[in-house]
């Protein structure tokens, strides 16, 4: 029986003991260390930090190890820990324009101030399995160039100088930034909350939705204005001393999509923005996020809301993989009380059906 009426407690303990055993696997194989995960499975760590909404490489690596490589389970572990942390306040907005860039590309201009910087990327690799890697070994040292002092303005800032793209929304002075982990969501939601939701949203879900906009379900004619990845400083305004103090630096990926907008009765035609931001190097995630962010602005921009990606309630209610996996998997829990009442009802309905069909003449006579 899968639900023991008695003895369930020991069964659970034993199941968890077996899980720990399976997680460790063959004990003659050396155990994974957190630094191995953090260093060699860095993109998995990035994803767990992003969707777990906690920037801590070590805890994310621990979560991946504990979850046996199941990233949604790892994200869940990080979220559950994060939820218990006290909140001291919000940092100052990070300045991605001042990012120490490791990679920066634009598909809208051939050359841009600061140049195109490819950085570490799978792009242009041939996807051939590399047997040499199975053996291990040390790859060649990377080619290095002297750091340049040439500023790297964001491509959207360049477009903005000509007024060709809508301005970035400016936060109202002293208006608190929404926080969907502290306040329940209500619709319609502001763009701050939408972006928070998307930043925590499942990469696969956003990828599929972003893809659907490209295939015509809420098409918005995107160009990858710029994708940049690198380090930014995080600062915190300390009330006690009256100025912002640096807390350290984090790695971020930012994607700014540039999209068409036909204009309206009151607005001239111009480009519009879709925005994506994630911890670590997460290009697929930030690009998808930017496509969906732009799609969700349909109502604001006076476009018809016809496709799933434009439907705020649909997207925001289903983007969170921790919520989704919990509810899908809860079907494993016993439901035999409700099932029992359905069984009873079904038997009754079938009985009534049989009775009704057994005596057709009588029924007609009664009518």
């Amino acid at each position: 029986m899968y639900v023991a009426v008695m003895g369930g407690e020991r069964a659970i303990e034993n199941a968890h003991r077996l899980l720990a055993h399976e997680r460790r696997g063959d004990r003659s194989v050396p155990e994974l260390s957190l630094s191995q995960i953090s260093e060699q499975l860095g993109l998995a760590v990035d994803r767990v930090m992003s969707e777990g909404a906690l920037y801590d490489r070590e805890l994310a690596a621990l979560a991946i190890k504990q979850a046996r490589g199941d990233l949604i389970e790892a994200i869940f572990l990080v979220r559950a820990f994060r939820a218990t942390l006290p909140r001291f306040g919000a940092t100052e907005p990070v300045d991605t324009g001042a990012m120490r860039v490791q990679r920066r590309i634009s598909s809208t201009f051939k050359d841009i101030p600061g140049g195109q910087v490819l950085g570490p990327t799978f792009d242009y690799t041939h996807r051939l399995l590399d047997p040499g890697l199975a053996e291990g070994g040390n790859p060649a040292a990377p080619a290095l160039a002297a750091t340049s002092d040439v500023p790297m303005p964001r491509v959207t800032d360049i477009l903005r100088q000509d007024g060709l793209i809508e301005p970035s929304p400016v936060a109202e002075e002293d208006a608190p930034v929404g926080d969907l982990t502290r306040d329940p969501l209500s619709f319609p939601a502001g763009r701050d909350l939408r972006l928070q939701n998307l930043a925590r949203g499942d990469e696969g879900f956003l990828l599929a939705l972003g893809y659907s906009t490209q295939r015509g379900y809420g098409r918005n004619h995107p160009f990858a204005g710029e994708i940049r990845f690198g380090e930014v400083e995080v600062e915190f305004f300390a009330e006690e001393i009256g100025f912002a103090v640096p807390l350290g630096s984090i790695e971020l990926t930012e994607c700014q999509m540039v999209n068409q907008f036909k204009g309206s009765a009151t607005e001239p035609p111009c480009f519009t923005r879709g925005y994506g931001l994630a911890f670590g190097q997460s290009e697929r995630k930030t690009m998808s996020m930017a496509l969906v962010d732009r799609a969700l602005r349909a109502r604001e921009l006076g476009e018809d809301v016809v496709a799933p990606a434009q439907d705020e309630e649909f997207v925001m209610s289903h983007s969170d993989n921790v919520q989704a996996t919990g509810f899908v998997e809860h079907l494993k829990l016993p439901h035999y009380v409700d099932f029992q009442s359905e069984l009873g009802l079904l038997r009754k309905l079938r009985r009534e059906f049989a009775d009704a069909n057994a005596a057709p003449e009588m029924k007609e006579a009664a009518e």
Binding site: A83, T84, G326, H335
Partner: protein, 294 residues
């Protein structure tokens, strides 16, 4: 490493205060779904995170906690939640309905009548009774605000037109304090009458959907119906095979591979209490009492 340390009953005090405020509002407006900033809990959404947060917010060191799932104290999820609070709050736990001050439940209301001073905390998967008639939150909130419940009756009408009676057997909608239509969580409709004028406080927590609602003690709770097709409680054909109870909700247990069945109380504490008091059913040694392998 940022080694985790946890507060009494897991949640930090700020979060508990936020949840308590939502609970107070819910009690002030019986049956109204109060949005709250549900946290990620260390168990998955859909496995009782709403109930766990409500319990964590109201639990004090002197409380005695009982947790049931499907009426039983010993189903896996009930054990898991009871252990969670035993570990994080160190409170006394019990399987006795009578001894408990806080009872967290999934899918059942205990058979033994609840008394004043007790709190029954329900785990709720989908708090919105109109959800499957109208998928949009913006629309359902408006319907509640304006008390537009015609659509709910359309569903009941359709049942009668098709089947000759209302064909909703669990999560049967109720009207609380003559104002809000409420989902009682997926309890069997058999349990609905227990909610009416109940001396205990009833709290409902939906974690994934971020809603808390409440039925204060001694509040009228009416199951929706038509004058000429009144609400009826599900009635079993046979008494409990173990304790002979005739007025309890029964589980059907398949006893062999030839399809033999027996019916026993879903509320294990109630059933054991009756057996201890000398009540007997037709079976005594039953799979109910066997240790299982999980």
């Amino acid at each position: 490493m940022n080694a985790p340390t946890y507060n009494f009953a897991y949640l930090d005090e700020q979060t508990k205060r936020m949840i308590r405020r939502a609970i107070l509002k819910a009690i002030a407006i019986p049956g109204y779904q109060v949005p709250f900033a549900s946290r990620e809990m260390p168990m998955p959404y859909g496995w009782g995170t709403g109930g766990v947060q409500v319990t964590a917010a109201i639990l004090g060191p002197k409380d005695v906690l009982k947790v049931i799932d499907q009426g039983s104290d010993d189903t896996t999820n009930a054990i898991s939640i009871r252990k969670f609070f035993a570990k994080t709050a160190g409170v006394e736990t019990t399987t006795s309905t009578d001894a408990a001050t806080v009872i967290q439940t999934r899918h059942r209301i205990p058979e033994a009548p609840l008394r004043a001073g007790q709190v029954l905390v329900y785990q709720v998967p989908i708090p919105e009774p109109l959800r499957f008639l109208e998928p949009r939150e913006t629309e359902t909130r408006r319907m509640h605000a304006l008390a537009e419940y015609g659509l709910m009756h359309v569903k009941l009408y359709e049942d009668i037109a098709r089947f000759g009676h209302i064909a909703t057997s669990y999560a049967y909608p109720v009207k609380v304090n003559a104002r809000y239509v409420m989902d009682p969580s997926p309890t069997p409709k058999f349990d609905n009458p227990k909610m009416d004028n109940c001396p205990a406080l009833q709290l409902f927590g939906a974690g994934r959907e971020k809603r808390i609602y409440a039925i204060p003690p001694y509040t009228p709770v009416v199951s929706l119906d038509f004058e000429d097709h009144p609400f009826t409680r599900y009635k079993f054909d046979a008494p409990c095979a173990l304790c002979g109870a005739e007025e309890s909700y029964l589980d059907e247990i398949v006893t062999d591979d030839k399809g033999s069945r027996m019916f026993v109380c879903s509320d294990t504490d109630y059933c054991e209490g009756r057996q201890a008091a000398g009540h007997r059913g037709v079976e005594s040694a039953a799979p109910h009492k066997e240790a299982a392998n999980g």
